[in-house]
Every structure is written in structure tokens, then in C-alpha cells.
């Protein structure tokens, strides 16, 4: 699997012969190896032209743009190599069938709850008493079986995530007060980290979906059109505990990020440039981690798990074979 490149400085990114060159505002030049790039993540103020876009298109490299407040602003993705009308038709069919849509929505929630459980269990074994939270998550998992609509499944998801997030104040050191999820804009350090991490998960899922002929706007748990790539929201939920939350815990508990890594203004709290670099470096290292896949009989990277999730969903839609959501198995 190819890797992501993050650009934090302001400046210009351009095609230079057969490479991509970054020219920062102070005139420094850096070259990005396009051959083994999956995507570029632009965090700074960057100029680019159509010549660069065509060049990235030829190499199948996506560009994800992040704006002010770390908000995901959008993606420029390669023109599709292959399209499949059949896939889109099946995707819409499953959306339009209330029973199938509910089943898929419930699967995404079930997988998400499982992956939250894994994190809670990890810390439950390391000096915390999260028994009651684990019980509540178990109860959510059971309640899901009775959820008759997508809305109910969504409600269960919200309840589970609230219970799960209540463990964060105990897992993280005292000076990192969380007190529940707030965004637009994030009001404290922990929320700011979760927002940034989740937007990275989301952008990576956009790339993964693009590797299939799935339409990123047709989704099951989230309403289509809620955001442009609502299918990426469905799939990203499964991976937030594995990718975002573990990185947050690790960096904060090891003092690699401190309260000095953030800037507060008015009612928002955001990572500094240095903090963003630290986070995305650890995030990329996490994506590159591998795990033995029980069925493929080889090691796969966490990043490839995202791609496989898109494959699995597509396979279900085309063949009717059961979709089993990603649940951390190690």
C-alpha cells in the first residue's frame, strides 16, 4: 500500500518534470516521490495549478485539502479508472430497500461498538475500572438487534459513543479535560485531537472508496448527502477507535503532546502546526502497522483494512453475500 504525504507549510505545489515539487514561502524546495504516493494531505495555504492536477491524476494520487480549523475542505481525486453502472445500481437498490438499509446501518453500528469495546477493555485491564461502561456498551450492542429503523440504529450509536467517550477523562491525564464531544469548533484539547484524527480517517476512507467503483455519496447509516461523501462517514465510524482514539491516547499519555501543543482563541481550541505534525506522523505510523489477516493468510496494513472494507461492502451489494463489518480481531 502506498503512503500519504502531509504538507503543513504555506507555499506552492507544482509539477516539476516528472516529480511533484513543494516550494515553501521562504523559497525552500522539497520533492515528493509521486510513484509511491497514495494521497497528498494539504494542511497549509497552498497554490497549485491544473498541470499539477493532471499529473496527479496520471499517477492515481488523490489530494485532500484541509482548511481553517482543520476542517476537511474537500478532495481532488483521480478520474476514475473504471466505473461500474452495475455497482451503482446495486448500491441504490440496497439503499432503497428499508430492510437492507437497516441491516447495513446496524452492521456499521455493531462494528463500531465492538471496536469501542476493544479500547475500553484494553484500559479496563490496565488499572481502570470500566466494568459499568463495558456493561453499557454490551447493552447497546443487544439493543441494536431490536432497532427497527436506521434512526434507531443511529440513536444506539450515539448512546454507545457517549458512554465510550466518558472513559476518556479517566484514560487521559488530568490537564486534558474532555467532558464530552463538541465540534464546530472543538472547545478543548481532546475534542480538537478527535476532530483532527477523525478528519484524517475520513479522508483515507474517501481514498479507499475511490479504489472501488462504489459511489461515495450513497450511504446507509448516514443520510446520503449529509455530507458529500456520506458513505465515507459510514465506514469511518468503524475505524475511529482503532485509528484516531488510540493515537490520541498514546501521544497524550506519553507526553508527546502537551497543553502547549494547542492554541486557544475565543471558544475554539486547535493544534499548533508542530502539534499537527506530531499527530499526523503518529497517525501515518499507525496506518502502516500490520496485522496477520486470518483469511488472506498474510499481513495487511491498517490502511489496507480500509480498502478491504470497501471491497467487502461492494461484494455484499453485488453478490448478496453477507457483509461482516470490521471488528478488531487482535
Amino acid at each position: 500500500m502506498d503512503r500519504n504525504y502531509h504538507v503543513f507549510s504555506d507555499g506552492r505545489i507544482e509539477r516539476n518534470d516528472d516529480t511533484v515539487r513543494l516550494v515553501t514561502e521562504d523559497g525552500e524546495k522539497k520533492y515528493l516521490p509521486v510513484e509511491n504516493a497514495e494521497a497528498l494531505f494539504l494542511h497549509g495555504q497552498i497554490d497549485y495549478n491544473t498541470r499539477l492536477v493532471s499529473f496527479l491524476n496520471d499517477h492515481g494520487v488523490a489530494m485532500h485539502v484541509f482548511g481553517w480549523n482543520d476542517y476537511y475542505a474537500g478532495s481532488i481525486v483521480p478520474k476514475r479508472g473504471q466505473t461500474s453502472g452495475q455497482t451503482l445500481v446495486e448500491q441504490v437498490r440496497a439503499y432503497d430497500d428499508p430492510e437492507r438499509r437497516r441491516d447495513l446501518a446496524a452492521k456499521f453500528v455493531a462494528g463500531s461498538i465492538h471496536n469501542m469495546q476493544t479500547n475500553v477493555q484494553y484500559y479496563d485491564n490496565r488499572g481502570h475500572d470500566f466494568g459499568p461502561i463495558r456493561d453499557r456498551l454490551d447493552a447497546c450492542r443487544s439493543a441494536l438487534d431490536d432497532a427497527e429503523s436506521v434512526e434507531e440504529a443511529m440513536g444506539v450509536e450515539a448512546t454507545a459513543r457517549r458512554a465510550y467517550y466518558s472513559t476518556f477523562d479517566e484514560i487521559l491525564p488530568e490537564e486534558f479535560v474532555f467532558g464530552g464531544r463538541k465540534y464546530n469548533p472543538p472547545n478543548n484539547e481532546v475534542n480538537s485531537l478527535i476532530s483532527f484524527g477523525n478528519s484524517l480517517v475520513y479522508a483515507n476512507v474517501v481514498s479507499a472508496i475511490r479504489a472501488t467503483a462504489l459511489d461515495p455519496a450513497i450511504s446507509y447509516l448516514h443520510e446520503p448527502g449529509e455530507r458529500r461523501y456520506s458513505l465515507a462517514l459510514d465506514i469511518a465510524d468503524l475505524f475511529k477507535p482503532l485509528l484516531t482514539d488510540r493515537v490520541v491516547f498514546r501521544l497524550v499519555n506519553r507526553n508527546q503532546l502537551t497543553t502547549d501543543s494547542f492554541e486557544s482563541e475565543l471558544n475554539s481550541c486547535l493544534l499548533t502546526d508542530a502539534g499537527r505534525k506530531t499527530f499526523s506522523k503518529a497517525f501515518e505510523e499507525t496506518l502502516e502497522r500490520t496485522v496477520e489477516h486470518p483469511r488472506l493468510d498474510r499481513k495487511v496494513s491498517y490502511q489496507y483494512l480500509l480498502r478491504m472494507e470497501a471491497y467487502k461492502l461492494k461484494k455484499h451489494l453485488l453478490t448478496g453475500e453477507e457483509y461482516v463489518p470490521f471488528e478488531r480481531w487482535w
Binding site: 473504471q82 455497482t87 478491504m308 471491497y311 461484494k315 448478496g320 461482516v324
Partner: protein, 160 residues
């Protein structure tokens, strides 16, 4: 019906069903890269590509024989069926009688293939078989085969 469908039918019906539904293959797969390279580089000067009725594309050597080039002889029967289908199509649809050559350039091996009555029956059975697979609503279930790991649909098929 294309020649590749014939080949897939013999190799793996599930693969054929995926192909018929435009499931994209993993073009970075080493076996796919190798096959494309061998096909593009072998007998380059001595063969010409013909497209017939917009359905089948075959290669003809200077000698007038239809040639099918494969990187290895490990899946010889599927390749033979594909070639026989071309010969059958030329004979029964276009009205030209040809013989064929199955070539494995990397192994320096060639085999002559003729459309006998027995082979024609085999092609006709396979045509019916392909039709049954591609018109089915779902693919045959996944089944572990010795060559699964080199298949371009491997991850798609077995990611679960």
C-alpha cells in the same frame, strides 16, 4: 461472449461472474502485470491483432494460425478452451477454417490445436455454461483453489 470469458469459465466460475459484473481487478497484481507484459512482448513482429464483430479479439501469426500467448503452462486447459472458442467462432460464425497455436514463450513451448468434432462439442457446452453463470443473480460460492493466491480478485473474494 469474449475469449477471456471462456478461459475464466474453465478456471473459476466465480471469477467469470465477477468479470461479467465489471468488478474491477487489481491491476497492480503481479500475475496481471506479468501476463500483460508477456502478451505484449511475445512474437511482436510476426502476429497481427484482429477484432471480429466487436466481440472477440484474436491474434494471427504470419503462418495464418491463430495464436494464444500465455505466460505459463500452469493453466493450459483454460487457455486451450479460449483458443478453441476462437477457432469455433471463425469456423461456425465467420466461415473460415483455421488451426491454432498455444504458445508459452517463456517456456519456449508451442502446441498445435485443431477444432475437431469433439472439441467443437466442448466449446458449445462451455458457451451454455458461461451463459448460465453470467445470467445468474449471484456468483457461485468462494472455493479455495490452488491458484487462488495469484488471482487478481483474491482480496476481493476472500476479504471477509
Amino acid at each position: 461472449m469474449t475469449g477471456v470469458m471462456m478461459q475464466y469459465y474453465e478456471v473459476c466460475e466465480r471469477e467469470l461472474w465477477f468479470l461479467s459484473r465489471d468488478v474491477e481487478i487489481d491491476r497492480a497484481n503481479p500475475a496481471v502485470v506479468r501476463g500483460t507484459h508477456v502478451d505484449e512482448s511475445a512474437y511482436d513482429e510476426k502476429r497481427r491483432n484482429f477484432s471480429i464483430d466487436g466481440t472477440i479479439a484474436l491474434d494471427v501469426l504470419d503462418s495464418g494460425q491463430v495464436v494464444e500467448v500465455k505466460p505459463s503452462s500452469s493453466l493450459v486447459e483454460p487457455a486451450k478452451l479460449q483458443l478453441l472458442y476462437y477457432l469455433w467462432y471463425l469456423d461456425r460464425v465467420v466461415g473460415v477454417e483455421k488451426s491454432g497455436v498455444l504458445a508459452h514463450p517463456t517456456e519456449r513451448q508451442r502446441e498445435t490445436v485443431e477444432l475437431t468434432d469433439e472439441n467443437a462439442t466442448r466449446v458449445e457446452d462451455a458457451i451454455r455454461g458461461v451463459h448460465a453463470v453470467v445470467t445468474s443473480d449471484s456468483p457461485p460460492p468462494a472455493e479455495e483453489k490452488p491458484f487462488c493466491e495469484s488471482c487478481a480478485y483474491y482480496d476481493f473474494c476472500w476479504s471477509c
